[in-house]
């Protein structure tokens, strides 16, 4: 690159520099020429300390050196802390709680020292400079554009593609086919959504149990209390089953009555009701029960369901009531389900009727 641009952007030939001659110039001049070859003019360069060896300069140098020392000390402290401070969790002795903070602080000291040293060196000791670099942008020179176009067009032309329509079509077809080959293996990911979207772990006769596998009987709950229950099956507490089968068992307070949908009037048992705990909005477990009003709040997005009104959403973003589980008490006096939920639990999806 032997041209540079003046301010109007007109290329100016750069004075040819003889490498031998360059060697005889002072280093600063050489660097200036080097910059000019790259279209950079150093318009302003000023020593931070024009008179070398002043007190101020020595002070600046010492400050930078102090920063480097800080890095050294920080690194030593970091290593010592890593080796010496007790680090393992110990509920009886809180000494380990110092480990991570001391490690972080000493590491930060080591890094800060180096960072500050570099920045201060640049700001205090390296000569201040202002350089102007010309931009070369916009379209390429006309010759470059036309020759590139010629190369491209000629290349296509000599393959004969424009006139060989048979090859055009078969090439297109094969590219498409290769694309298909690339995509088809992703089919391994695809699984047909199955009935399990509509089904949970509840069946007719499955008992209700708590998270410590205790079966639930009427009388276990105080009036106005709630309990989180699961199907009392072998896998009833696995994440997979819990994710769609978790149920909230509620005992109403005396005097409270709950409205039910037509056809579900007998789903409860005396003053007990069982609803899916999975919020119909986004699937979080709706867990906060307000005994006085009979309202259930989902803490994720604040949907509120009125359990006395068929668990209808009364505020927030949920659109559907919580599905109700039909329950009764079996011969041995334990709560059992009378079948699965009458509708899919949890958030809505396309195929949901």
């Amino acid at each position: 690159m032997t041209t540079s641009h003046d301010e109007s952007g007109v290329p100016q030939p750069h004075p040819p520099v003889d490498p031998e001659e360059l060697e005889r110039l002072p280093m600063e001049e050489r660097a200036k020429i080097a910059a000019e070859i790259d279209g950079v003019r150093i318009v302003h360069r000023r020593e931070r300390f024009p008179v070398p060896g002043t007190k101020a300069e020595r002070r600046a140098e010492r400050a930078v050196a102090a920063c480097f020392l800080l890095t050294f000390l920080g690194a030593v402290a970091f290593t010592l802390a890593y080796v010496l401070i007790p680090w393992q969790y110990d509920p009886s002795d809180s000494a380990y709680t110092w480990f991570t903070p001391v490690l972080g602080v000493t590491m930060a000291l080591a890094l800060v020292g180096f960072g500050l040293a570099a920045v201060l060196w640049a700001k205090w000791l390296i000569p201040e400079e202002e350089s102007v670099q010309e931009r070369h942008e916009g379209r390429s020179p006309e010759l470059d554009r036309r020759t590139t176009a010629a190369t491209l067009v000629d290349g296509i032309a000599i393959t004969g593609l424009p006139r060989r329509s048979l090859l055009q079509r078969t090439l297109g077809l094969s590219v498409l086919a290769l694309g298909v080959v690339a995509v088809v293996p992703l089919g391994g990911l695809i699984k047909k959504p199955r009935d399990d979207l509509f089904r949970t772990g509840w069946r007719d006769g499955v008992r209700l149990m708590t998270s410590d596998r205790r079966l639930v009987r009427p009388g276990d709950l105080q009036a106005g209390a709630i309990a989180t229950v699961f199907p009392a099956t072998q896998d009833g507490l696995t994440t997979q089953v819990v994710a769609d089968s978790v149920v909230l068992l509620i005992r109403l307070r005396p005097g409270q009555t709950a409205r039910a949908r037509p056809g579900q009037e007998d789903y409860g048992w005396q003053d007990y009701l069982a609803y899916s705990k999975i919020c119909t909005h986004a699937g979080c477990p709706a867990s906060l029960y307000e005994q006085q009003t009979g309202r259930l709040l989902c803490p994720c997005h604040q949907s509120q369901f009125d359990l006395l009104q068929d668990a209808t959403p009364v505020f927030g973003p949920a659109a559907r009531p919580l599905p109700k589980l039909a329950i009764t008490v079996d011969d041995e006096g334990y709560f059992v389900a009378r079948g699965d939920f009458p509708e899919p639990i949890g958030p809505s999806f396309w195929e949901r009727p």
Binding site: M1, E7, S8, A35, V43, R46, F49, P50, V51, A56, Y82, Q88, Y89, T100, P101, L103, G104, V105, A108, L109, L111, V112, G115, L116, A118, V119, I126, E129, S131, V132, Q133, R135, E137, G138, I190, K191, P193, L197, T238, Q240, V242, D244, V246, I278, A282, C284, P285, P299, Q302, P313, G316, P317, A319, R320, G346, S348, F349, W350, E351, P353
Partner: protein, 542 residues
Amino acid sequence: MTTPTTANRAEKLADWADSRLTIAAPTRRLLNKVFPDHWSFMMGEIALYSFIILLLTGTYLTFFFDPSMTEVPYDGSYSLLRGVEMSRAYDTTLNLSFDVRGGLLMRQIHHWAALLFVAAMTVHMLRIFFTGAFRKPREINWLLGVTLLTLGILEGFTGYSLPDDLLSGTGLRIAHAIMLSIPVVGTWIAYAIFGAEFPGTEIIPRFYIVHVLLIPGIILALIAVHVGLVVKQKHTQFPGPGRTEHNVIGERMYPLYGAKAGGFFMLVFAVLALLGGLFQINPVWLYGPYNPAQVSAGTQPDWYMGFLDGSIRLFPAWELRFWNYTISPILWPTVILPGIMFTLLALYPFIEARLIKDRASHNLLQRPRDVPVRTSLGAMALTFYLVLLISGGNDIIANKFDISLNAMTWWGRLSLIVLPPLAYLITYRLCLGAEQHDREVLEHGVETGIIKRLPSGEFIEVHQPLGPVDEHGHGELEYAGSPVPKKMNRLTSAGRRVRGFLAPVQDPTEVQDRSDTERALEEQVESGERRELAGRPRDPEL
């Protein structure tokens, strides 16, 4: 000072490399590259540096983390959870925090760096937007930036989902619900990604490989192109003395800019080390392993997901049912709305250029006040986003400030509609006011604070003109797109700033030094160097 031997050795090494690679010229070009300086240009740097720190700390974490959903009983040092059944992913995260020496520090630096990464990208994007740096010829880089931001958010979400704790599992469940909400193919997508009905046993291993290989690989490649384009197209600069559309004024990369940037990387790393050491983040052992039957009150995602959490909380329960099909109410706030937001964001440069018929290339940045419509649109979009973000934590706000939760929801719903247009109007007025004041100072000069009594008895304030004045005493300088000095000490007329931190610096060499600078400046002005103050006379060429 380098001794002759080291100089010789360096020369030999350089010759070794150049005789094989012929890289003397490209190396010199790179070293001589000029970077303009402005504090706001550091945002992108912070994003880049936090990404590097993410790669370093993340690699460390992979040595100890096992992304498996196999259930195991915990038997590590944290006694409170001993014997509890949990996935290997959660188990190994606990081990990282309690049984790997220094593991907790690395985990916490990683998490803080992730938060900073997305935050820095966001602020960097705002800087680009409000200064018009996205205009031709930089639209491609804007698109790359929007892609990087989106990928950064996805990377963050897949990352904090990995520990399989109660909080992240709840987040996954919501993500599952969002997938289900997509019409027609929603259940198919959910099954393809989770491999079964929620939660299955595939999601954590799959998110892991997406988090440690797929997305970081793409991000790395895109960052390379993004930065490469900045190098190729050269950095934009604010208007100022001598700065034109055809040059870039600043410091050369080597050694000045390079030293500052390298030091700045260390400083960013230091801040993250401090955060990681002192400020607890994502203490998964307090949340417990994921259990679909449990949830903690006040569940909050990482900040960059907050706007989605806000929109899903605020949106009304609009569920559509027809024939035998359902459209979920969460489709609108979590798929359609972000889709529109990010599409508008990506297309903005093209929309603006089309609307104002601007086909020119721009290398000089604009001050936000000089483009009131864009600035106001930006303020409007930002307000919309902030209302969503605040609503993402509306339960916390309701709790801490003892406000009704339902009132917070309604505040969010109404604010989403009312506040953005209001923000537009206010910003527009502010821009016009600021512009007007610039013009006023250029015409009448800077208020000096000196009150003069005229012979007629009238009191006036003396104004200091910024440049030559016409016969009416009005300034002849035209606005040039750069800050107009508005205080006397900006004109160095109200005394000089006294140097020194604790004691004034009175070193004679320093004083000497300053007068040297001033003389040099005067010489440059006399010799016709284009180093005008802001508000320079309009360049006849432009």
